[in-house]
């Protein structure tokens, strides 16, 4: 048995616990100085991150290749089949796009794709294991602000939650902390889509239990008042709508249009609601 001097340990531990709880409380309530300190920390680390990424990304790619070889083969075959199908649908889609443009001009509706936006590369994944975020290579110096929506050509990716000078952190839609007001395109039914982690689906809450929602229906942002997300950004398609007798809402699951595990470039919509 190792002999050691007993000291009065409790005051130190109690002080640390009290300090940590105080910090957690302040951050949960939205303390401005804490956000400033976070931004400053990112400003210091980001240049080092860029240099290290250049050196270590081949190692990461090798590890990915080893651990994901089987799934990569399956994904390759699946994508080839999808490409063949997409080519067949391309001609029909062109006609629909042109008709859509003409109709929108007539109705003078705002459309997300016309918003002031900045393209950004995705440079890093989440630094921790319990959050679904990505780091993008554009920051405050490029006009990126907190709460700005982030999209790709497929649809909604998430929103900006932290901004430093040259980078920003994007909270992905599949993170359980994410939520956005949505509308079913066919019926106009409203709800709130929330992330469900790595399950591959989003859950839509507060859907009228009597609503006529069917699988395959397109879901897009509703653009409700005070929402940082403008209306019309595609979110996903309904994968399941279950009606349980006595429930206060319809159980709706949505498959996102964006593949959150393969993000290379995104677009930040510099909307007025962003800070």
């Amino acid at each position: 048995m190792v002999a050691y001097q007993r000291t009065n340990r409790r005051p130190i531990l109690v002080l640390l616990i009290v300090t940590a709880v105080a910090l957690i409380t302040l951050d949960v309530r939205g303390s401005g100085p804490i956000s400033t300190v976070r931004g400053g920390a990112h400003d210091v680390v980001d240049p080092i991150a860029g240099a290290l990424d250049t050196v270590f990304s081949p190692v990461g790619d090798w590890i990915d290749g080893v651990t994901k070889a089987a799934s990569l083969k399956d994904e390759n075959a699946r994508l080839r089949r999808r490409l063949d199908a997409a080519r067949g649908e391309q001609a029909a889609a062109r006609a629909a796009v042109e008709e859509n443009k003409d109709l929108r001009k007539l109705l003078d509706l705002p459309f997300a794709a016309d918003a002031n936006a900045v393209a950004a590369p995705v440079v890093e994944g989440a630094p921790g294991n319990f959050e679904l975020t990505v780091q993008i290579g554009k920051g405050a110096s490029d006009g990126v602000g907190a709460d700005m929506p982030v999209v790709t050509g497929a649809g909604l990716v998430g929103r900006v939650v932290e901004v430093s000078r040259d980078r920003a952190t994007v909270l992905l839609m599949n993170d359980p902390q994410s939520g956005v007001g949505v509308k079913m395109e066919r019926t106009g039914t409203f709800g709130v889509a929330k992330g469900r982690g790595d399950t591959g689906t989003l859950r839509v809450d507060f859907v009228d239990p009597n609503a006529d929602v069917t699988a395959g229906e397109v879901v897009s942002t509703a653009g409700v008042q005070n929402s940082p997300f403008p209306a019309g950004i595609p979110v996903g398609t309904v994968s399941k709508a279950t009606r349980t007798p006595g429930d206060l809402q319809l159980d709706v699951l949505v498959k996102p249009l964006v593949d959150f595990s393969h993000l290379d470039y995104v677009k930040v919509l510099r909307t007025p609601s962003g800070r």
Partner: protein, 178 residues
């Protein structure tokens, strides 16, 4: 305590945070999971320096890591401090450390730290973290932590060394493997 160990530990904290938020988050993931570098280092320091200093070091390291996470500031600090404190007490009760003490402590730290992080985050409003997915992540991360402990413990021993004549045991905490 001289200033040299503090300087070394300060540099180690910076290095661990940079590696955690850049190299390990971008590419060195195993089944999508990153290790808890700061947590393993905290346990290693606690084994060398005791529970009180281990808790303080864990608090500072956790706070540095929290600056780059979207979870509330202080969650990692509290988790790391408690694990560091516990590791220091457990190690102080060991009859005879062996070569497997480091990876075992690393794995246990990963498990305890992960559970504490999820629990504290849930209390702070992140109830969605209480899931089977989190349990899977914690298990994989603890294995990764055990592997990294082989490297982190000698580094911590070097950083906390006060004198080179091997009298660090004056605090009553002999280093692993001696």
């Amino acid at each position: 305590m001289t200033w040299l160990p503090r300087l070394r530990l300060g540099l180690l904290i910076v290095a661990v945070v940079v590696l955690q938020t850049t190299v390990f988050s971008a590419g060195l993931r195993v089944f999508g999971v990153t290790p808890d570098l700061g947590l393993v280092l905290t346990v290693a320091v606690a084994c060398s320096w005791g529970p009180e200093r281990g808790a303080v070091f864990g608090f500072v390291t956790g706070l540095a890591v929290d600056l780059f996470l979207s979870t509330p500031l202080g969650v990692s600090a509290l988790s790391f401090a408690l694990v560091g404190y516990g590791a220091g007490i457990v190690h102080g009760g060991l009859l005879r450390p062996s070569r497997w003490t480091a990876p075992t402590m690393g794995a246990l730290a990963g498990l305890a730290g992960g559970v504490l992080f999820v629990g504290i985050s849930a209390v702070a409003g992140r109830e969605a973290l209480l899931s089977l997915t989190s349990a899977r992540i914690i298990l994989i991360a603890s294995v990764y932590d055990a592997l990294l402990a082989f490297a982190m413990f000698p580094i911590a021993r070097w950083a906390t060394e006060v004198r080179r004549d091997g009298v660090q045991g004056a605090l009553g905490y002999p280093s692993i493997g001696r």
